[in-house]
Symmetry: C2
Subunit: 221 residues, 2 copies
């Protein structure tokens, strides 16, 4: 069985968990306090980050590499379109969320409030929290624009881009950091993703010391 070293609220780990679950790949989840730099974990991934996936007898790191590997070796059901231009659009949006959204929103809200406390790095920086709360509005508007033109974020079929976005938004939603009233199309999109069987495991997450928002696992939020 595959084994994933992860932390529950990491959007990068959640993207991998969603991919594995959508493709019905059994996985054992192992929580890894990667910031403690345990030597055994550092051997698995010298980058010192999660997710790290043990699968097919090898150890893999970097969520983009892991998701592409899962897609190449378990193509059914597919999370990538066949057409090269459409694939580039999926990857552009995965990059959008894992780089831009992460830098402007996730790292400013979730990391300030949760990771800093877990890692004993002090109190949230209110300037960052304010910047993150402002930036998420712009991102929700961009998602609205995309979803006004397409059924899913990258095109007419659900793809890794939707999982990347849902991974970030679900981690933020755990702390009530997403204003679902801002956009009906984004809310509808999230309701569709949230009701997938692949999402169940993520909705069951409980982080000690950080209870989830009341609506977090409510499919009718």
């Amino acid at each position: 069985m595959a084994r994933l070293f992860h932390v529950p609220l990491s959007p990068f780990c959640r993207k991998v968990r969603l991919s594995l679950a959508e493709k019905k790949i059994d996985v054992e989840l192992v929580e890894e306090r990667y910031w403690e730099e345990d030597p055994e974990f550092m051997r698995r991934n010298p980058a010192g980050k999660v997710p790290v996936l043990k699968i097919d007898g090898v150890i893999m790191a970097e969520s983009a590499a892991i998701c592409e590997y899962i897609e190449e070796t378990r193509p059914d059901p597919s999370l990538m379109p066949k057409d090269a231009i459409a694939r580039a659009e999926v990857r552009r949006l995965v990059g959008w969320f894992d780089d831009k959204f992460h830098h402007e929103v996730t790292s400013k809200l979730l990391y300030e409030r949760v990771n800093k406390k877990m890692m004993k790095l002090g109190y949230p920086d209110s300037k960052n929290v304010k910047a993150g709360s402002k930036a998420i509005k712009y991102h929700l508007d961009y998602m609205t624009w995309l979803l006004d033109h397409r059924r899913w974020l990258a095109g007419d079929a659900m793809s890794l881009a939707d999982f990347a976005a849902a991974a970030h938004l679900s981690a933020l939603d755990y702390n009530s950091d997403v204003d679902w009233n801002r956009s009906d199309v984004v809310k509808d999109w999230y309701a569709k993703i949230k009701s997938r069987p692949a999402f169940r495991n993520i909705l069951a997450d409980q982080v000690p010391g950080f209870p989830p928002a009341k609506h977090y696992n409510d499919l009718d939020f």
Copy 2:
């Protein structure tokens, strides 16, 4: 003909330029002062970043998406192995350089010294420069370890991982920020990459106000 919107010292743009050149794809280079957020450029890439590539009638953003697209549509000569596990290793290392190395080194040295001045954001932060100068040693040691075990960074064939690494190191080398005496194997590896025809265009870069280091375009450095 393809058209690339870029800045000369951006490692992400250099990775794309190297891929295009290695595959002998003609490209027109257009310098884009992306930080000025010209509305026409923001329409091309709402993320407001370079590289942006116009190719095959469409506009693409995100260097990872662009390089995968080039590889899928122009597979010869290949920059990715055929085997899925080997491909994951290439992508892991591309992520290593474009995320970890970029965060710990490139953004601390190049961005403090060059980008800040170009963007009129003030003087370099000496704490960052010091942290970057320290971190690059650790990264050169990790590259040494890899190259002690393999002919190229991700395996026995040159790949996108080598181009990602060379893109960062060449941009840093422009300002003499790489100590080539630290590791013979890394120096030999860079000499091999540097002497490829695909590298010529990059070695000819000249940024107004920032003359390159004397050895920058010397193949016998």
